[in-house]
Amino acid sequence: MIAKIDEVIERAVIANRMDTITKEMGYALERSSRSPIFAEACDFACGICNGDGDLVSQINGIPILAAAGTFSIKEVVRKYSGQVEEGDVFIINDPYQGGNHLPDIGIITPLVVDEEVIFYCVSRAHHGDIGGSVAGSYNAKATEIFQEGLRIPPIRLVSKGQVISEVMDLITRNVRNPDMLQNDLWAQIGANKIGVRRLKELIHTYSPSKVKETVGCLLDHAEGLTRQAIKELPDGDYVGEEWVDDDGFQLNPIKIKVTVRIRGEGMTLDFNGTDPQVKGFVNSAFVTSTTAAWIGALWALGSEIPRNSGAFRGIKVVLPEGSLVNPKDPAPVTLSTLTPASEIISAIFQALSSIEGVQLPAGFGRYCGPSFYGLDPRTQEFYVGFAFCALGSGGGTASRDGYPYMAPLSNYGGVRAPNIEANEIQYPHLTLGHEMETNTAGSGKWRGGAGIRYSILFQGEPTNIVMFGDGMKIPPFGAASGKSGSLNYVEIKTVQGETICLASKESTRSLAHGTILTVVSSGGGGWGDPWQRDPERVWRDVLDEIITVDKAEQDYGVLIGQEGVDWAATNDRRSGNQR
């Protein structure tokens, strides 16, 4: 009994300490980084992997980034096996070799004890620019990865504690804001250093073998939980389909198909039947597709399962080569972490929702909005910004309305949208409005969140914008008889007063000072039959200008009088069943 309580405490302490260390790394990165995409939007992830590259712990950051750390480290392990030394730091971004897309740079720092690598600390973060044909590196017209930016295979950035300046120079020479990129690489290196420092203390307290043993237990524990959860689902093949608008060249929707095969305590996500790879940058390479599939499945399996490599072991992913979800090098892939990563998850949700008792939300808004860049007339410095404040909204669930202003599924709960105040200090533009838009929420017993109308007046001389995103043709789906949400819509109003409607994927446009950009983002899909919605809630939505009186009548069968719900007329309409 004496031994047991200590063992229980130690296991819990070590497990929680790992999570705390990754959190501390995340905090260091957020607090010390320079580009707004890091510091304000938190577009990064941190994790700890064991010496084999298995992910042990990660922060609750951007879902699609975090799990990818294991692939990056496995590439380092493969290439540098036996040559990794204390004082090394590795860098990597190649989507065909352990990365997601080029702007996401992985920084990897090993912890070596007695010539053995016990842990790797990894931080992966989205940098504002990584070169290529357009600033911001979302090049909607790229047809090869070479046009998307600088490609970094796993290489050493630091050796014996010293930055290899030749490597740093080569990288910074190829991007548009070298100083910021260099500072942010420092922030990543620093965050890893914090992680390694804390892990050393942990090993010092509990001995390397104790810590290694515990880490093994943690992975097994997560695998056990995953398999248990799969076992509780009925055996069978469940099919889900989702569509991407287009690839920016040919304008037909592109299909993603998944067959979820459940057999006992094993699950296979088979993407055979998905359309072939395309010309534009909506292809999703192996790492991004696998990660998206894992997190999509785990969402259905339960929130208590730790998101580590142990959990991933229970889920097999089959990605047909040459398809949209596993294209051949050098197909362009930059949009993949948003679209189609979110649509891969969406297809899995639709497949698993057909199982009785599995409750997943209706469709979410997709990302759609420009990057903007130029010289800031206030400082004469180059800047790149993104329309993070144009996020779409969440789908309704079986027990509540969808929340407005949620990141697309691949980034759900990880992106923190910047305050308008922070944005205006950062960029030369004036925000004219940022509010929910009436009649955008997908109707349902539990409706989707309302979409956002976001308008900014550009004050750059000029401002260049590149449209990227999706969801102008395919809306967020409605679930369980709910209706779909609204489509994304983007327009500019020129100084001359002309209104131009923009497509979701465009090449660079140069806009004069005073041009107004407006994004109306998607409302989320509705869950359940709208006629089942409590009329009082419908009335509150009317009062709050989420929907109009007409919408209340058409979609919900609720008639609104002077003082709220006209109960007699509503009962009459709803019982009449005349939809």
């Binding site: 200590d6 302490v13 929680n16 010390s32 027990s399 202003y405 949208a417 305050n419 308008i420 940022h434």
Partner: protein, 701 residues
């Protein structure tokens, strides 16, 4: 002459009175949510009786009156508050609901976010605009205000929160709007974001402002009532109110700043823990406080109270510095219940003081932790609250039998024991969250067990989380009140500078310094703090130019010293390296804010002012005694349900405990307002300050 501290919690109001000779009297009275005043009057009457003088004379002789209150947080947790409207810049009325798309739980879609405190139709956009520099680019459209005021009147709005874009850079538009609106609606409480916070970030600032608007009218009314009552009864001195940061303020300020007092009571507990740690020479202490409603955990680390620059209260961001306290709904009044699957749960609902636990005989039907403790024999039906309240054991029995024991097929004592264990696990999780989850090993901490209920759980809790020593202070049951007693008036101020940190301070630094100092002195004078009783702590928020977050660096030495800037820069680079793993000494720095905390000097006993904080534990063997190792005589043997059955346990009375004794568990130690359960293999000694020091042994079964 008396000094009085009153801490009103969710279930009990605690009182401490000190006279020239130190602590002279304590009291504990059930609190009342409907009439929060009544227990205060009752308690004060009881204290006066203890001194054999009438209440009027007692209050007339009171020289200082400090008060911690839960009126604000109770209202928030129960979804109450003034009907509030929110005024924003036109086009931006949804920041409160959009929440920067933040989620605390990203892997569970069924989790609900806390409700939006102002419905959309009461969020109104004002035609005005400040730009990022704080320059007005669109003046306030005054023609809009009369219509807006009329709408607010029709809607019977009681409070208005105003948070305009960039008011943190220039509050002019907010101030102008308020002046105009108050002319039209003189009786509505208006709170401006710029009065509360000068920090950038409209979402967090709006949330803070809305909480303040919603809760201040409720707190303000209560405090006015309290003042009127106590004045009528002869109180001559002003009442001081405890704030979230551990400092005190006066009643007027508190009534306008409810958001600053949400953790008023628990803050007293942290302060009390800090004093205990100093007196005992402990560096690391978990302060566990369990009263009737909740279990609050805070830490003293390396001899310091933990402050957090901003926090979340009930899921709402508050952009103000406060003590770091974690709360779970496990108190003596927490209700035990079965979920749909027949799983036993405890809390977070509390029966409070009324109807209270079933055994109170006040109409409570549901079983609580107190009922379970009564059935287990841990507490007595005749000596609860010092014998002021007789508990009805049959009602406790019947309630546990009907709601828990029968459905689960357990005996009633077994069910009571199960309730105790479930409550214990909730408390262990809370301690884990504050220690293990932050990477601190609980085995290096001692546990201060305070509040009326924790001493019943403390040794079991310590065993469960691996803590090796428990301290039960003599004043454990009224510990928060004791902390309040030691609290000081405090002022915090900040000036936004946003300039490059050069070699020597600019004029703006001196100007900001003088302004802050003036503001602080004005406030401290208003609060009656003498000039020789003031302490000033300066600090600066610094960052590299293109960063988004700052590091707070304390100003060591004299703030007007021209050498101060290079020193600040040096410390910044060092802190950056320590916190973030790198630094760039070749880069220039931006000075974002100058901060000042001005407070009344600590009035602690000399021993506590000279902390010996290198120790983790008190060496119980070194406790000096009267060489009287004889055990006190037990007052009775009692049947107590422990580990699977009733067994005979010796019961002692606190007043019979002697220095030098070595008391081993299992045993119960009865004390006015609390009972300490000393589990098997635990060993208790009394130190000179009359704190019970319990060393936790390991179980061998």
């Amino acid at each position: 002459m008396f000094i009085v501290a009153v801490d009103v919690g969710g279930t009990f109001a605690d009182f401490i009175v000190c006279d020239e000779g130190g602590c002279a009297a304590t009291a504990k009275i059930p609190s009342s949510i409907e009439n929060p005043l009544q227990p205060i009057i009752r308690g004060l009457n009881e204290l006066a009786e203890q001194f054999n003088i009438p209440l009027e004379e007692f209050l007339a002789q009171t020289e200082k009156f400090t008060h911690g209150t839960t009126v604000g947080i109770n209202a928030l947790l129960q979804g109450q508050g003034a009907k509030t409207a929110l005024i924003t810049t036109e086009g931006f009325r949804d920041a409160l609901e959009l929440r920067r798309s933040r989620l605390n739980e990203q892997w569970d879609f069924s989790v609900s976010l806390p409700s939006v405190l102002v419905p959309r139709h009461l969020r109104i956009g004002l035609r005005e605009r400040m730009d990022y520099r704080g320059v007005s680019v669109k003046p306030v459209d005054r023609t809009q205000i009369p219509m807006l005021a009329e709408f607010l009147r029709q809607e019977e709005v009681e409070a208005v929160a105003v948070c305009l874009l960039f008011a943190c850079r220039n509050p002019k538009h907010e101030v102008e709007f308020k002046e105009h609106l108050q002319e039209l609606l003189p009786n509505v409480f208006v709170t401006l974001s710029s009065e509360l916070s000068s920090q950038l970030g409209e979402y967090e600032r709006t949330s803070t402002t809305v909480l303040n608007a919603r809760l201040s009218p409720i707190l303000g009314n209560y405090l006015q009532d309290l003042r009127a009552h106590l004045r009528a009864k002869g109180l001559r001195v002003p009442i001081s109110i405890a704030q979230n940061n551990g400092g005190l303020t006066d009643l007027t300020q508190a009534g306008r700043r409810a958001v600053n007092t949400l953790f008023s009571g628990p803050a007293g507990g942290v302060k009390g823990g800090w004093i205990l740690a100093r007196e005992q020479g402990l560096s690391d202490l978990v302060v566990g406080d369990m009263g009737g409603t909740s279990f609050d955990v805070s830490l003293i680390r390396q001899g310091m109270m933990e402050l957090t620059p901003q926090a979340e209260i009930a899921g709402y961001p508050v952009q103000l510095p406060m003590l770091n306290i974690h709360t779970v709904g496990a108190g003596g009044g927490s209700i035990a219940w079965l979920d749909k699957g027949g799983m036993l749960k405890v809390g977070p609902q509390s029966a409070g003081a009324k109807p209270g636990p079933a055994c109170y005989e006040l109409g409570g039907q549901e079983p609580t932790i107190t009922d379970a403790a009564l059935i287990m024999g841990l507490i007595d039906d005749r000596s609860f609250l010092g014998g002021r309240m007789v508990l009805n054991k049959e009602l406790a029995y019947a309630s546990i039998e009907k709601n828990i024991a029968k459905p689960l097929g357990l005996s009633v004592p077994e069910a009571a024991y199960a309730i105790y264990q479930v409550a214990l696990s909730l408390m262990a999780d809370a301690v884990y969250l504050m220690t293990v989850k932050k990477g601190y090993d609980p085995r290096s901490f001692a546990l201060a067990a305070v509040g009326g209920a924790l001493p019943l759980f403390a040794t079991a809790l310590a065993k469960g989380v691996g803590i090796r020593q428990v301290v039960v202070p003599e004043l454990a049951p009224v510990f928060c009140a004791q902390g309040l007693f030691h609290s000081n008036f405090q002022f915090e101020g900040l000036r936004n500078l946003y300039e490059v940190l050069g070699e020597v301070p600019f004029l703006s630094w001196s100007k900001a310094m003088l302004e802050l100092r003036f503001q602080a002195d004005e406030e401290l004078s208003r609060l009656g703090v003498g000039e020789d009783q003031r302490e000033y702590r300066w600090s600066a928020d610094l960052k590299y130019p293109d960063q988004h977050h700052e590091i707070n660096i304390p100003v060591r030495g004299i703030v007007s010293d021209p050498e101060i800037w290079p020193q600040l820069a040096k410390e910044f680079h060092e802190a950056h390296e320590r916190l973030y793993g790198y630094c760039q000494p070749e880069k220039s720095l931006v000075l974002v804010n100058l901060r000042l905390v001005a407070q009344e000097k600590e009035r602690l006993p000399q021993s506590a002012m000279d902390p010996r904080i290198e120790e983790s534990f008190i060496n119980a063997n070194s406790i000096a005694g009267e060489n009287n190792t004889a055990l006190p005589t037990s007052i009775e043997m009692k049947m107590v349900y422990l580990h699977g059955g009733f067994r005979k346990v010796e019961v002692f009375h606190w007043k019979d405990l002697r220095n030098g004794m070595d008391l081993r568990g299992p045993a119960l130690i009865k004390k006015e307002y609390t009972t300490i359960l000393l589990e098997e293999n635990c060993q208790a000694k009394l130190d000179e300050a009359k704190n019970l020091i319990i060393n936790i042994g390991k179980d061998r079964h």
